[in-house]
Every structure is written in C-alpha cells, then in structure tokens.
Symmetry: C2
Subunit: 163 residues, 2 copies
C-alpha cells in the first residue's frame, strides 16, 4: 500500500510502526527469534510469504536498522540476516503480542508460550514500574507529553480524556 512515512510523526508508536508496521515484518522477526538467518529459513518459517515480498521486507528491515545483512560466504555469494540490538530489543512487543493472542485468540489452547529456560516453567509476564517495583495497571497510568512534545501535541493530549 502506498502511504506516507510516519517517521516524522511526533509519536513513538507511529515511528515504531514505520519500521515494523507492514504485513509480514513482525512474522519475519518472529522467525529471527526462532533462529532463522538465511533467506530460505525465513521463507519456510513464514507461511505464505512470497520470495519477492520477503526480499522487500528484509531490505526494509535492513535499511531501517533491525537486521544486518552479513556475507557469510565469498565464493558463492551468500548473505544472512542477523538481528541488530534494535531488532533484538523488539522482543517485548513480540511477547505482548503473544500473550494477547493467547488470551483472546486461542480457543483451541496455547500453541506457544514463554518458558523459563532453567525451571522450564511457563512464564506469566506482567508490567512493573522500576520506580515502585509494583505492577503497572492501566488505571494508574496515562500517556503524557514528554520533554520534546510540541505545543500542539501538548494541547492534544491535555484536552483528551483518556481511558
């Protein structure tokens, strides 16, 4: 789809989506977390993606800094796609998407879940605030303008009655 870049929007959510908001991008990242590095691994893991789309998406993810394209073979020219720090730090979004999906869209039961590697116990993740050490509940927090917010954004948020 044609749509303008959100990279200059005054909103970190919009900017994040500018990097991973297109179809397939997050599924490609999921495969990377599973350990995929090579083109074919992504193609097999992400069911239904066409090679041309995979090429485009990988290129975009490399261009915006989530993957690094690394040449792992000289003679036959071969590349692999490895996550950068930025790409690795995407994991909280992956985890929350997984939890939300498990909660609302898994009537047949849980397909995948997070497990503690040592104890083998399924994790029950929740948000906590480092200031208090306590759980962050939506009723106690709201989105507020930060130091770099423009006057317009400030007004927009100030006059909104958040849920």
């Amino acid at each position: 789809m044609k749509h303008k870049s959100l990279d200059d929007a005054e909103c970190p959510i919009a900017r994040s989506l500018d990097h991973v908001g297109e179809w397939w991008s997050i599924l490609i990242l999921r495969e990377a977390y599973y350990g995929a590095k090579k083109f074919d691994e992504f193609q097999k893991g992400v069911e239904g993606i066409t090679p041309s789309t995979l090429t485009r998406r990988l290129k975009h993810l490399v261009d915006t800094g989530l993957f690094k394209r690394h040449r792992y073979s000289e003679k036959p020219e071969r590349y692999e796609y490895v996550l950068t720090k930025c790409g690795r730090d995407f994991y909280p979004i992956m985890w929350t998407l997984m939890e939300w999906g498990n909660k609302y869209f898994a009537p047949e039961g849980i397909f995948i879940q997070l497990k503690n590697i040592k104890t083998r116990k399924a994790a029950i993740p929740f948000f906590a605030d480092r200031n208090t050490g306590k759980e962050m509940l939506p009723k106690d927090y709201q989105i507020a303008p930060g130091p770099a917010a423009s006057a317009a954004l400030y007004t927009k948020i100030a006059t909104s009655k958040q849920e």
Copy 2:
C-alpha cells in the same frame, strides 16, 4: 494488500496480527486510548488517514471484536466506537511499542511517555514473571510449544536454535 487470513495459524502472534496488523489499525487504537470515540475524532487524531480507509479499518476492528459500534443518537443516526475488553487489553502492546520507539527512534527527545497518574512520575516499565516476581530477561526465557501445539510445530520449535 491481499493476503490470506492468519486466523488459523498455529501462532498467537500471527493471530494477533490478523486483528491489528494492517496499516492504521494500531494508530486508531492509540486514538481510542486518548479518548476518541467518534469517527471525526479518529480522523483528526490519526494524521493522514482517509475517511474510506478509516471506515474499512473501523469495520474490521468492530468485526474482530476490538471495538463495539454503539448508537449514541437516534434522531440523527450517529455511532461511536468504544473499546471492548479485548481492545482495552491491547494496552501492553501499545506501551511496549511506545517504549521501543522512544528508545530507538526519538533523536529529538521524548514526545510522549507513560506517567503515574498519582505521582506524576514517568514510568520505567519492565517485564516481570509472576512465578518469581523478578524481571524477565530475554536470555532466561524462550518460546516453547504449548499444550495445543501440533507435532509439526513442536518439531519446528524444538529444532530451532533460538536467540
């Protein structure tokens, strides 16, 4: 974009994306968290969206259970879009997208952030595991097959070398 539904995929991430994976959807949800309910509020808040796309997206979000279309006026036929529980429970994904965007794509500084309503202090969210009460670090956790996983999925995950 034309693409098959991921609703039957054995992956909660794919299923979640089936609901909110299209362009604009998450931005529309963001506006809902700001308090938007009416069509025009969404259109003003989500910069650049066209009314036809907004109509389609709202319809999809209503169809898949994130919003409820509620008639708030009889004489002039008027509807508003209110979040369901499922839609409200999307907030962790919104929060993590916001944090990730603030961390990597906000060179000018923070535009918006989460604040504790009482203390007015900016939150520093992190994941904790209810089993241990401690922070969940990616190195200690991995994606594992759940009770409903098929043999094929089990094999796929078992043979992957996760990062």
